[in-house]
């Protein structure tokens, strides 16, 4: 590519400073071969800019929309977002801590012989659980295990789908 052609494209692309633009315009006035090259380049430049976009088939947008349902619901992410998971497990831990602390506070006082502090706290915690009916404990356990199974299944299905 010659310097003349380079200069013409830069001129047409608006990349020249004022001095170089003046140089191109002066050369256009005085040099017929440069003017001819410029005119050809300008026609090409204008027509490339005016090229119409290609049009796909009439059903294109509909075909795209028809293919979406199988994708979006499964592929956009887990059913339960990470934010909700964090809130859920954070809340559960906070509840357990609160439960344990209140248990320590309300459980029967330790005897004089129970002088080991940790043993005393564990005993108080067990004493607190004895206050809760067994069927409630079992139901809470089942709910927690079911939740964990469902969340794991959700994650596994999402990873499997994205891989495919």
């Amino acid at each position: 590519m010659s310097e003349r052609e380079d200069l013409i494209w830069k001129y047409l692309d608006g990349q020249l400073d004022a001095d170089d633009r003046k140089r191109v315009e002066d050369t256009l006035e005085t040099d017929p071969s440069f003017r001819e090259l410029y005119m050809q380049s300008e026609v090409l430049h204008q027509n490339l800019g005016a090229l119409e976009t290609e049009i796909p088939s009439m059903r294109f947008a509909q075909n795209v929309m028809d293919s979406l349902p199988a994708v979006r619901e499964l592929a956009t992410g887990p059913l339960v977002s990470v934010k909700w998971l964090r809130s859920f497990f954070g809340g559960t831990i906070a509840l357990l801590l609160a439960f344990f602390s209140s248990g320590v506070a309300i459980a029967p006082a330790a005897t004089a012989q129970e002088n080991h502090r940790i043993d005393r706290m564990i005993d108080r915690f067990y004493a607190l659980f004895e206050l809760i009916p067994a069927n409630i404990m079992i139901m809470a356990g089942i709910i927690m295990i079911s939740l964990l199974v469902l969340l794991s299944l959700d994650r596994w299905l999402q990873k499997r789908f994205l891989r495919s």
Binding site: D6, V43, L48, T53, A61, M65, L68, V71
Partner: protein, 189 residues
């Protein structure tokens, strides 16, 4: 642009109508990029459809740092280039498919006046004969508001490289057209 942002936000939430608006707005652009690279309409349409599916499933990853069109054209460009590399499509096919052997037709009737519409048709055929990467650079430049920086982002090439390629490619196109059309091209001014 504000309307487009609303469509994107709504589509992210699963609003299918909003996503359809985005498809309708950009389908011609995405199809044009795919067609210039792949040269065959049926393959380009399949790829363009695949591009919109990718957009739909990864819409959450669009951070809005660049324009939505730049992000979309990046997916379109990469998907089409990948398919072109895998299939190693012949570049001549679409040029012949459009109007037969147009060069011979033109020479048979040397007095024929070239209309602007004809010139655009010849131009498209000349672009179809470029290799996929060159065709995509020319297409993106004139499709994408002549923003070299964004084309560099889409293609992964440097801005200097894009500019050099553009000068060289347009010279090649100009030479091809002037060889075929002679002084007719100057009458177009």
């Amino acid at each position: 642009m504000e309307e487009e942002s609303r469509w994107i936000i709504a589509a992210r939430k699963g609003n299918r109508l909003a996503f359809r608006r985005l498809v309708e707005k950009y389908q011609n652009y995405v199809f044009t990029i795919a067609l210039r690279i792949l040269k065959r309409r049926e393959v380009a349409e399949e790829v363009a459809q695949d591009v919109f599916l990718k957009v739909y499933t990864t819409l959450d990853s669009f951070e809005g740092k660049s324009k939505f069109s730049t992000w979309l054209y990046t997916i379109a460009y990469r998907t089409a280039i990948d398919v072109a590399r895998k299939k190693q499509l012949p570049t001549q096919e679409l040029a012949d498919e459009r109007t037969g052997n147009w060069k011979d037709d033109f020479h048979e009737d040397g007095l024929q006046r070239v209309s602007r519409q004809d010139l655009q048709q010849y131009l498209k055929q000349a672009i179809d004969q470029l290799d996929p990467l060159d065709a995509s650079i020319i297409t993106l430049y004139y499709l994408h508001e002549k923003m070299v920086k964004e084309i560099a982002e889409i293609t992964g090439l440097t801005e200097t490289n894009i500019k050099t390629k553009l000068y060289r490619l347009r010279d090649r196109l100009r030479e091809t057209l002037t060889q075929q059309l002679g002084t007719e091209i100057e009458d177009m001014l």
